[in-house]
């Protein structure tokens, strides 16, 4: 660095920043969080490998929650609208976020989808992320919880190989457990792996095909719903006058 010698070199100064590089995304996620809060909706960021069974779990959830909970979803999809079509057919109000070549959703994409979403009265809003065990974990979307699907055909070691994703998870759904009798899958081994990467390891075993474990998953979701829209444990679908779902939400 050349300071005052007069040689004509420009002065180089250090500018301290000390901020997260993704602070813009963090701010947008906080904004989304206030939307979800204002709507009294539980927002879930559903992540996992391609084909881990994210959409199938949501289809099964809709079957089990029919008449009790109003479900909504946005699906991050590289090119198609297949997942949103499947979810709409299953009774979940859904739209697609086309990501093009992006390997993850970010808070801005979710915000845009939120403002174009056809319904404002959902109880639970699922954000089905792009199938990928790495990138989506880095971006806060404004969700209340991260749920990671891990299918039994992927192997017990995935939590150790992809620690970032599992470390950020509030819950792991071990999916396709109906296939376990046909595989050498060791449930205890995956539990051990999770305990080494996830401080409060919690896993539920589910099968979208047989419906096994879907009630426990619904229970997990119900326990996390925002207090102001809490209903009796058995749940019911009609409108309460004190709900503020119908009000237009604030935005700035």
């Amino acid at each position: 660095m050349c300071e005052t010698c007069g040689c004509g070199d420009p002065e180089i100064v250090p500018i301290e920043v000390q901020e997260r590089i993704l602070s813009d995304n963090d701010a947008q996620a906080a904004h989304n969080r206030s939307h979800f809060h204002g709507l009294g909706v539980l927002a879930i960021n559903l992540m996992g490998s391609p084909g881990a069974g994210k959409t199938a779990v949501l289809e099964a959830t809709s079957r089990a929650a029919a008449g009790c909970l109003k479900l909504g979803a946005v699906s991050g999809d590289l090119a198609t609208e297949r997942d949103a079509d499947r979810l709409n057919a299953a009774g979940i109000v859904s739209s697609t976020i086309t990501t093009g070549s992006a390997c993850h959703l970010d808070a801005r994409l979710v915000h845009h989808a939120l403002h174009h979403f056809p319904s404002n009265d959902r109880d639970i809003f699922f954000i089905e992320n792009v199938g990928n065990l790495v990138c989506p974990a880095i971006y806060d979307l404004g969700q209340a919880a991260n749920v990671v699907t891990l299918s039994v055909t992927e192997g017990e070691d995935k939590p150790l190989k992809y620690p970032v994703m599992f470390q950020k998870a509030d819950l792991v759904l071990l999916t396709k457990v109906d296939l376990i009798p046909h595989l050498d899958f060791d449930v205890a081994a995956v539990e051990d792996a999770l305990a080494r990467v996830m401080p409060e390891a919690e896993m539920l075993k589910v099968s979208a095909k047989t419906g096994e474990g879907i009630d426990a998953w619904l229970q997990w979701l119900t326990e996390r719903r925002p207090a102001e829209v809490e209903r009796p444990p058995e749940g019911h679908g009609h409108h309460h006058p004190e709900h503020s779902h119908e009000q237009p939400h604030e935005h700035h």
């Binding site: 002065e11 180089i12 100064v13 920043v17 790495v134 470390q167 401080p199």
Partner: protein, 115 residues
């Protein structure tokens, strides 16, 4: 590859600081990347080398400080070995990450008359 989108955010941020401080050429960026941040340092370098041209960061160096992960018990502060079960043997409490997930822009070295 999310490293490209991270580099895009990084360059935007540097451009913003340069505007604020009347900076012109950027010589070096110091970033801190945790080994459990999900960001691959090699991919980040490649993405930076590709994207910096024709931006305020053209010709700038990216200095990366990597941070290894560390976990500790929130009650007794006992640290846990890498790869261990993330629960304190003594207190039974879930461990807390002390470091290792950083994705931080620490400092920019630039030519700036207004500082």
């Amino acid at each position: 590859m999310h490293e490209y989108s991270i580099v895009a955010s990084l360059i935007d941020r540097v451009q913003h600081e340069a505007t604020v401080h009347g900076g012109s050429r950027v010589h070096r960026l110091h970033v801190k990347i945790g080994e459990l941040s999900g960001v691959e340092v090699d991919l980040l370098k490649t993405a930076f080398d590709t994207f910096r041209e024709r931006t305020i960061c053209a010709g700038a160096e990216l200095a990366i400080d990597t941070v290894s992960p560390a976990w500790a018990c929130p009650s007794c502060d006992r640290s846990l070995a890498a790869g261990a079960i993330l629960r304190c043997d003594d207190c039974g409490r879930p461990a807390r990450m002390v470091q290792g997930d950083e994705i931080i822009l620490e400092r920019i070295e630039m030519e700036a008359p207004d500082v």
